[in-house]
C-alpha cells in the first residue's frame, strides 16, 4: 500500500456558495459511487472527498471550505494541479440495489456520494425502480448542483427541503418532515443516506415509521480517513474502519456500534 498520490489537472471550477465549490479534475480513477479519494494540496495536507459524478474521464469534488486542505483548494484555479490517491472504500452496494425502488436522502455537501450514485442510476436506468430524492439545504442560496437537480426533477421524484424557504418551488422543513408529507414508495425499497448524523438519525427514524426497515437503510459516514486502508486508526468506529469497511454501512450493522460510542459521549465528567 502506498501513500503516494498522483498529480492531476483541474479542468473546471464552479462556485455555488461562498463556501462551496466544485472542482472538476481530469483523471481516470473512476471511483464507484460512494467510494472516496484522498485529495492532497502539497504543503497543506490531505483530506478524504467523494466524487459527486460517476464519469470515467473525470471526478467532481464538491468541496466545502471547512479545514486546512479545503481552504487551500479554494486558491486553486482551472489549469492548476492537485494530487489524488484512491479510490478507497466499498461504496454503495450497487449490485444489491438493482431492481429496487430507491430513496436517496442527503444534506448539504453530503449530497456528493449520493449524486454520484444518481449519475449511475441515470446511466443504468432500467436496473432500478422508482427513484425518490430528498435533498436538504439551509436555504435557497445554499442549494448545490442546481442544474443537475433541475435535470433530475424531470426524471425522478425530487424534493428539495429548505430550513428557511419563501418560494413555493421548494419545500420548507427538515427532510424527515417533508418525507412524512410526501410519502415515498416503501415496498421493495432501499434508502441511501448521507449527511450530518443528526439528520440521518431523524430520517432513519422516519423511514422506519413509513415501513423501510433498518436493514434496507444505508448510511454513508464521515470520519477522518487519514491513510485510506485501515492502518492509521483515525476513522475507526469500534471494530470497523470507515475507510476500508465503509464508508457506506447498512444501518442495522453500524447502529449498535454508534449507540455504544454515543453512550459514552453523553458521560458528564
Amino acid at each position: 500500500m502506498s501513500y503516494e498520490p498522483k498529480r492531476y489537472k483541474i479542468i473546471g471550477v464552479k462556485s455555488f456558495t461562498p463556501d462551496v465549490r466544485l472542482f472538476r479534475v481530469k483523471c481516470k480513477l473512476d471511483p464507484k459511487p460512494g467510494q472516496f479519494l484522498e485529495v492532497s494540496v502539497s504543503g497543506f495536507g490531505e483530506c478524504p472527498l467523494a466524487s459527486c459524478s460517476h464519469m470515467p474521464e473525470f471526478v467532481d469534488l464538491l468541496t466545502r471550505r471547512a479545514g486546512n486542505v479545503t481552504n487551500a483548494m479554494f486558491n486553486l484555479k482551472e489549469g492548476d494541479s492537485i494530487f489524488i490517491r484512491g479510490p478507497y472504500g466499498k461504496g454503495f452496494p450497487v449490485e444489491k440495489l438493482k431492481g429496487k425502488n430507491l430513496i436517496l436522502v442527503a444534506g448539504g455537501t453530503g449530497i456528493a456520494p449520493v449524486t454520484s450514485f444518481i449519475n449511475f442510476v441515470e446511466q443504468n436506468r432500467k436496473s432500478f425502480g422508482k427513484v425518490f430524492i430528498y435533498f436538504g439545504f439551509r436555504d435557497e442560496k445554499n442549494i448545490l448542483l442546481k442544474d443537475r437537480i433541475e435535470r433530475w426533477s424531470k426524471k425522478f421524484n425530487v424534493h428539495i427541503c429548505l430550513n428557511e424557504c419563501e418560494k413555493h418551488s421548494y419545500e420548507k422543513g427538515f427532510v424527515n418532515d417533508v418525507m412524512d408529507k410526501h410519502k415515498p414508495e416503501v415496498e421493495n425499497t432501499v434508502a441511501l443516506l448521507c449527511g450530518p448524523e443528526a439528520m440521518m438519525d431523524a430520517v432513519t427514524k422516519e423511514l422506519k415509521k413509513l415501513g423501510v426497515t433498518h436493514k434496507n437503510v444505508y448510511w454513508s459516514m464521515e470520519r477522518r480517513m487519514e491513510c485510506g486502508f485501515g492502518s492509521c486508526g483515525r476513522c475507526q468506529i469500534q471494530d470497523v474502519y470507515v475507510c476500508k469497511d465503509g464508508p457506506v454501512f447498512r444501518y442495522d450493522f453500524i447502529k449498535s456500534r454508534l449507540d455504544n460510542e454515543r453512550s459514552s459521549e453523553r458521560w458528564s465528567e
Partner: protein, 312 residues
C-alpha cells in the same frame, strides 16, 4: 526447528559476533531503559523489560513519507542496513507480530525484511507484567532461554538459522518456559461490558496525556502533517498519534467523534481486547504492562476489568 545450545559464558561472544556483522540494537539503560544501537555486549542491559518499546525501529515517532518537489509527489524510500534487534521479550516479539498485521507501507516492510528478531526469555517480570494472560505465540527468528547452566537458542525461521551456523545443536528440543509473572487479566471477554460503570472511575482519573499509547508496543495510530520550505517544495510527515487525544477523531469543521475522556479511554481498552480480536483474530494487547507502568495517575485497567468479572 532444532534448538542450539551455548554456555552462559558464551552469550557475550555470540552477541559480539553479531555486532561485528550487523547493526545490533539492544536494550540499554540511560535516562530510561530502551532499545538502542550497541557496539559491545557490555552496553546491553538485560535486567527487566525496557520502559520504551522497540516499535520506533519500525514506525519512527515521526518520519517523512512523501516529498513534493517540482510539482511531483514521490514516496520516500529508505535504505535499511541488515540489523538485529537483540533482547526482545516475548511480549515485544508478539507486539511486532501485531504491527505486521496493521502496517502496510513499503518502508515498514523494508525494515521488517532487513531485521532479525532475537528474543530473550524474561527472567524478571515485574508487578505490572501480565503477558501470560494474553495468549502469546512464538514469533521470532531466534529466541534465547536458560536451560540449567546453558542457554538454549530456539530457531523460529530460516532467516534465524543463518545467525546460528556452527553452534552446537541439542539432541532434544524443550519447550520455551513461561515467565513467572503474578499479575493476571482474568476477564478479557468484555464485549458486552462496554457500558459498565466501572470504566467511569478510571476515565475520571485519565488525563488524556496519551503516555499509555506512546509506550504501548502495539499502538501504531498515526496522522499526517505537511511541512513546506521557502522554495515551494514540501514534505509529508507521518507522526504517531493517539486515540487518547481529543483531536484524533476530529473531522473538518471541528466535530470530534470521541469527545469525552470516557469514550477515548474505552476505545483504547476495547481496541486492544475486543475490536482487534474481531478484526484479526487475536488480542492487540501483549501484556507488557507498559501502559500501567507509565500512567501518571496510576490507572490500573487490568484490575478494573478483573473486578468487573467478579461483579458480573
Amino acid at each position: 526447528m532444532a534448538q542450539k545450545i551455548i554456555s552462559r559464558d558464551d552469550l557475550p561472544h555470540f552477541v559480539n559476533k553479531l555486532i561485528r556483522k550487523y547493526e545490533v540494537i539492544a536494550p540499554v539503560k540511560e535516562v530510561n531503559t530502551k532499545f538502542k544501537q550497541v557496539n559491545s555486549f557490555d552496553e546491553i542491559y538485560l535486567d527487566g523489560i525496557t520502559e520504551v518499546p522497540a516499535k520506533e525501529f519500525f514506525i519512527p515517532e515521526s518520519e517523512t513519507i512523501l516529498e513534493f518537489k517540482k510539482g511531483r509527489a514521490k514516496e520516500v524510500s529508505r535504505h535499511i542496513k541488515k540489523r538485529v534487534i537483540f533482547g526482545l521479550r516475548m511480549c515485544d516479539l508478539n507486539a511486532i507480530k501485531i504491527l505486521d498485521s496493521v502496517m502496510f507501507d513499503k518502508n515498514y516492510l523494508e525494515r521488517r525484511k532487513k531485521t532479525f528478531l532475537v528474543g530473550i526469555f524474561c527472567e524478571n517480570p515485574d508487578k505490572y507484567c501480565f503477558c501470560n494472560s494474553m495468549e502469546l505465540e512464538n514469533y521470532f527468528d531466534l529466541f534465547i532461554f536458560p536451560d540449567g547452566d546453558n542457554y538454549r537458542i530456539a530457531i523460529g525461521s530460516n532467516k534465524g538459522k543463518r545467525l546460528v551456523r556452527g553452534i552446537k545443536t541439542s539432541d532434544k528440543d524443550i519447550e520455551i518456559p513461561k515467565p513467572k509473572n503474578k499479575k493476571v487479566l482474568k476477564n478479557k471477554n468484555i464485549e458486552k461490558k462496554y457500558r459498565n460503570k466501572a470504566f467511569e472511575e478510571d476515565a475520571r482519573k485519565c488525563l488524556s496525556c496519551s503516555a499509555c499509547t506512546a509506550y504501548c508496543p502495539t499502538c501504531n495510530c498515526f496522522d499526517f502533517k505537511d511541512v513546506s520550505d521557502f522554495e515551494g517544495n514540501s514534505k509529508r510527515i507521518r507522526r504517531l498519534s493517539s486515540c487518547m487525544l481529543k483531536n484524533f477523531s476530529e473531522v473538518a469543521g471541528g466535530k470530534s467523534y470521541r469527545d469525552s475522556r470516557l469514550s477515548r479511554f474505552k476505545h483504547f481498552i476495547f481496541h486492544k481486547l475486543v475490536y482487534f480480536k474481531k478484526q484479526k483474530g487475536r488480542y492487540m494487547c501483549v501484556g507488557c504492562g507498559r501502559c500501567l507502568r507509565v500512567c501518571p495517575t496510576k490507572i490500573d485497567w487490568v484490575n478494573t476489568l478483573n473486578k468487573m468479572g467478579e461483579r458480573k
